[in-house]
């Protein structure tokens, strides 16, 4: 997807919130957007998600898109399962596929027992999980997350971290804003800063933070222990049964502690540092 000379303002004579935005959004990339409150981050995300049309310039080559807003209102007369099934169909899934994807994501976020609960009766955190599930259930090619982690419990944040990593690994693009600067630290391919209505790449970003990669092997069939540091990126390792975990260097001790103090403990096969990458070519 390409943005060329994109601008956006609210109202006909209003000030430009964003202007002259030129941005290439490549496939298979994780992009972070940062900026002060009211700088236009959310406006940029709404343009990227296709929720708002640009007032100037053009956006071309839009892939299948999903958007997760910052606050999701429970004021809809549906149960969680009905809403997600309906949205799954709007995302282009068939009825049966939408329904099973909805169930699957409700289970993954640990709210499978709420399938028949009306959205209006859900807690704030649980309805945020429904909003996130809505964004993930159709495996979109472009996923736009506006502070989607806010209000989620730690386990669900990890589920979302993993889902984001998996989408990017599958060749989709994920664009996110999060107030926590350590969110998916080291993983983004590029970071963009929104200030004074302009969008600029942050120099020296894009996997610049030193990261540590741990290869660990658990007891056969065991799940990864709870309490891994937030933003842990997990992938299967080359050796069978082993898993490769990558975290910001600052979190490596916490990661090892979580693995070694698990009951039963995990076996650490290797610990390596990952050199920061400057420009990554794709």
């Amino acid at each position: 997807m390409r943005l060329r000379g994109v601008g956006r303002r609210y109202g006909l004579g209003g000030p430009w919130i964003l202007r002259d935005v030129d941005l290439d959004v490549p496939a298979g990339a994780l992009l972070r957007v940062e900026g002060a409150n009211g700088s236009g981050k959310s406006t940029l995300l709404r343009l990227l998600a296709g929720v708002d049309a640009p007032g100037a310039g053009s956006i071309t080559g839009r892939p299948r898109t999903a958007y997760v807003p910052e606050r999701f209102p429970p004021a809809l007369p549906f149960t969680a399962l009905e809403y997600l099934t309906g949205l799954g169909r709007v995302h282009g899934l068939g009825r049966a596929a939408a329904r099973s994807a909805a169930r699957e994501w409700l289970d993954r976020f640990g709210i499978g027992e709420h399938t028949r609960t009306r959205l209006s009766e859900l807690s704030k955190g649980t309805s945020q999980k429904v909003a996130v599930a809505q964004g993930l259930l159709s495996n979109p090619e472009l996923l736009v997350l506006d502070e989607a982690w806010t209000g989620l419990d730690p386990a669900s944040r990890t589920v979302l971290d993993d889902a984001v990593t998996a989408r990017v690994a599958a060749g989709a693009t994920v664009v996110f804003v999060d107030h926590d600067t350590r969110r998916l630290a080291g993983a983004p391919d590029a970071v963009f800063r929104v200030a004074q209505g302009r969008v600029s790449p942050v120099a020296g970003t894009g996997r610049t933070e030193p990261r540590v990669r741990v290869e660990a092997e658990g007891p056969s069939g065991a799940e990864l222990p709870a309490g891994l540091p937030e933003g842990t990126v997990r992938e299967p390792a080359a050796a069978p049964g082993a898993v490769r975990l990558t975290v910001a260097a600052a979190s490596s001790d916490a990661l090892l502690r979580a693995l070694l103090t698990a009951r039963p403990p995990w076996h650490i096969r290797a610990v390596t540092t990952v050199a920061p990458e400057g420009e990554r070519s794709r």
Binding site: A53, P69, F78, R89, G92
Partner: protein, 222 residues
Amino acid sequence: MTALLSYQTALLLRSHRWLPPLLLYAAFMFIGVRTGQPILDSFGYAAAALVPVTAWLVRVCVTNEPEAARDCAAAAAGPWRVHLSAVLTGLLASTVVGVAATAVVAAISEPRSSDHQVDVPVGEATAAGLVAVLTCVLLGTAVGALCNRPLLRSTAWAVPATVLAAFLVLFAEGSPAEAAVTGMVTGSLDGTVNMGVLPLAAAAVSAAVAVGVACAVSGRRG
């Protein structure tokens, strides 16, 4: 579009916000349509009352979804499709109401002219009544689409504008709704059935233009 329409329809039915406009229409009908009244007069009345009711139903549909939920659907399907599906849901719901009202009028009215002297063919009159009803539903949809989100976003503007515009298209000379209703009522005087095809075509064009404008603006003005 099918998925969006079924989603919007479920939203409308579950929200129960269709109830006030429907009750308003039922009240209109209760006051103005009685057993044994001349059939063409009753069709004219039933059609005319549908203009404000349709405009209200379209308003209900385009304002039914909380903004964040609308954004989620808009990202998936595009803002204009989401808006179109909402307007169409209002149009379809009003059509169902209109068809039901046509059936009721056909069943209970006397198939005679206003002075009860000339016989009126029921089938032909019902077809003309249906055409008048559809004309009014289409114009009501145009009013609802133009006088609400995204063009008029504040309730303080949207509601008075909707009411005013509904009455304007109903009474202004040259409006297709006025032509359709007048065609029924004047035909009733001497028992002739006026098939208002031209007003129906004009109403369809007006509705298409109005809905097109609203959908085109939907991504730009939230």
